[in-house]
């Protein structure tokens, strides 16, 4: 086939390779199997050692903040799925919570329990995915296959709930749209009962593995000052010696009613982060067991409400819409014109699997947000590569990118 003519010049035309100072410039990405998306790194090398790193992002910038300014609040919900697409529900939740805080809604207890279940399932999914991809990057293919196997069970549970495997849109402003399906609890219990043995499998494969230890221990050390200064959150911060988990410190939903520990470490290297992820999976399982009990308590108490009652902002239940005239009118207005939150500003942070996921909303009383800023943890976890990579060797780049757990839907938005 004849080549379709294009006017792209050779890419490195403007870079001088033949430099006096023996520096080599290596271009890494934007399409690289271990860059976890579309990260481009310009690495300045002395021999194999990196002296300067320049991460270049924006290859997945789709303009979500601009989209939000041109959408009614409920319309934006599915778009949040595509930010951190490994754990979609946690984005849905962050957005729903910030709008609820803005309009001052109180969500029914049963909806809160279901939301917590979804959040923790998403955390498990995200951590399993992290383990799989990082292990694959380092060469541990078995762990990749094992972790994906377990992740599929969770995806089945979520799919049974909301019908989608990846992009859930499972949470609404004011509650959740559906009750969990009949098999949800039993499937979840089956999974959770098997999980400790599965985690032990991964740890048996990795914990004392010589290659894994060489690639992980004492590599990519993030000091406490660096982590704070770069705005790191989540496992990145906790591995560097700050015991800060928003679920514990500024509890939202029913996190103040459940028992769980916040694992942390003061080593700050790749291995500490790996241990932290494994430990967090165990804690998530612990929370999920407790939410199952809470859910059954709700069922016993006859607590059936799933959406908050706020006719100005939230549509009535489907049955009311179909039978009552006023509810139908309200629903029509809310769908066509959108809700109009009060004038004001809100910044709400939640603990997503990657770190602090914040939504800043400036509302001017219209149906569209005047300004919506998405504070995504991965953005700064990518930025820290600028300071973290110099001094390391080329193979370390892969393991460091792996353990920072960056997702490019989130970095570029």
């Amino acid at each position: 086939m004849a080549q379709i003519k294009n006017r792209l010049t050779p890419f490195f035309e403007n870079i001088t390779f033949d430099r006096d100072d023996n520096e080599l410039i290596l271009n890494f990405g934007p399409q690289h199997p271990s860059s976890h998306g579309q990260l481009r790194l310009m690495l300045h090398l002395q021999q194999e050692q990196i002296v300067k790193a320049h991460p270049d992002i924006g290859y997945l910038h789709r303009g979500m903040e601009k989209m939000a300014e041109n959408m009614i609040y409920n319309e934006f919900m599915p778009t949040t799925d595509r930010m951190d697409y490994i754990a979609s529900s946690s984005n849905n939740y962050g957005f729903a919570l910030s709008v609820e805080k803005l309009i001052g809604l109180e969500v029914p207890r049963r909806a809160k329990v279901i939301r917590m279940m979804l959040l923790e399932i998403n955390r498990l999914m995200s951590h399993l995915f992290w383990l799989a991809t990082t292990a694959l990057d380092i060469g541990a293919m078995t762990v990749f296959l094992y972790a994906f196997r377990e992740r599929e069970y969770l995806m089945d549970i979520i799919e049974g709930y909301c019908g989608a495997r990846l992009t859930h849109a499972a949470i609404r402003i004011g509650g959740v749209p559906l009750d969990i399906q009949d098999s949800f609890i039993s499937q979840l219990k089956d999974f959770l009962d098997k999980l400790p043995a599965n985690i032990k499998d991964y740890e048996d494969l990795l914990d004392t593995n010589r290659i894994w230890l060489m690639r992980m221990e004492e590599v990519g050390i993030v000091s406490k000052e660096m982590a704070l200064s770069w705005g790191c959150t989540g496992p990145m911060l906790r591995a560097s010696g700050v015991q800060w988990d928003i679920r514990k410190e500024e509890p939202y939903e029913l996190y103040d009613e459940v028992e769980f520990n916040v694992p942390w470490s003061d080593k700050g290297d790749n291995f500490a982060r790996y241990r932290l992820y494994m430990q967090e999976m165990r804690e998530s399982a612990k929370i999920l067991y407790q939410t199952i009990d809470m859910y059954q308590e709700c069922v016993k108490n006859g607590d059936t409400k799933l959406m908050a009652h706020a006719p100005k902002y939230v549509s009535a239940p489907k049955l009311d819409i179909m039978t009552q005239n006023y509810s139908l009118m309200q629903h029509f207005v809310l769908v066509t014109q959108g809700m109009r939150p009060p004038v004001g500003e809100v910044y709400v942070a939640t603990e997503s699997p990657k770190g602090e996921l914040g939504f800043f909303i400036n509302s001017q009383g219209g149906p569209y947000p005047y300004r919506l800023k998405l504070r995504t943890p991965s953005f700064w976890h990518t930025g820290i590569l600028t300071d973290l990579l110099p001094g390391h060797y080329i193979p370390d780049v892969v393991s460091i990118i792996g353990t920072t757990n960056i997702v490019f839907g989130e970095v570029d938005r």
Binding site: K5, N6, R7, L8, I57, G58, H61, G63, E65, K66, E69, N70, M71, K101, L102, G104, Y153, D156, Q187, D190, M226, L228, S229, W230, G231, V242, W244, E249, Q337, G338, R340, P342, V343, G344, E345, V346, Y347, V348, A349, E356, G358, F360, N362, S363, Q364, G365, G366, P367, Y368, Y370, R371, K373, R375, F379, W380, G383, I384, T386, D387, D412
Partner: protein, 268 residues
Amino acid sequence: MRAYTPKDNVQAKPYYTDRFYKSPQVAKFAPQSDEVFNADLEAIKAKFDVLDAFIQVEQLVVYINAKDNYGVLELLKDELEYTQLSEMSAIDWLADRGGFEVFYQMLSMNKRKRIRIKLFIEDGQAVNSVEKLFRSADWSEREMFDMFGIEANGHPFMKRILMPYDWQGNPLLKTYPLQGDEFAALYEVDKIYGKEAREEIGPEIRDTARVDRYDSDRFSRLGHEVPKGTEITGNEPANEQSYQEDGGVFLIKKFDKESSVIIDDPQR
């Protein structure tokens, strides 16, 4: 030359607003109602001008002068234990007030408190970079520059971060349409194939509601596709989709529906 259209009124507008509708306000509380916030505010007031301060949704909002931003953030970081800059960006008020509002979202882990520092700058005015205090501002300020065109004085690498370096326009301005301006429309075609290819490749299809049932390029008529350019009569025979030819495939066993097992239980 391309024809440029005016872009003062390009954002989505509610198509109906009740004449008598008055939007409520999110409740604001006096800073004195919270001990910790009050002490922090007093510490800021001792050194800098505070234009306004209130508590909104559990967070203290402080309005300061634009020139004080470095000093206030330094005070917050060094003395008041606000060790992290969670987020910073701007809000476009060009149409109403002729400038931008820049906000800094601070977090104190010891006090478990969050403060938002806000300042107003005129159009074209720059802010002082706080990159020396918080490394996270390095990328945030670049993003703000990219999205709004607000420069930060003293920033080491003030370049675009999300959009390509040769991009024109600042996407988050209210005068920038969601679907891009004339420059954005054919950016990738110009770059890859050159301006000559514009005609051949054609304009972008931005109408999400456009349905062309006779379009063979797309999948709007699954099972009734015809080659491009053929005359459409409307009663084409169905073209059944099957992934194997009827006569079987050389060296490959034909899939037999009858002899296959269907797994009902996904958890098997």
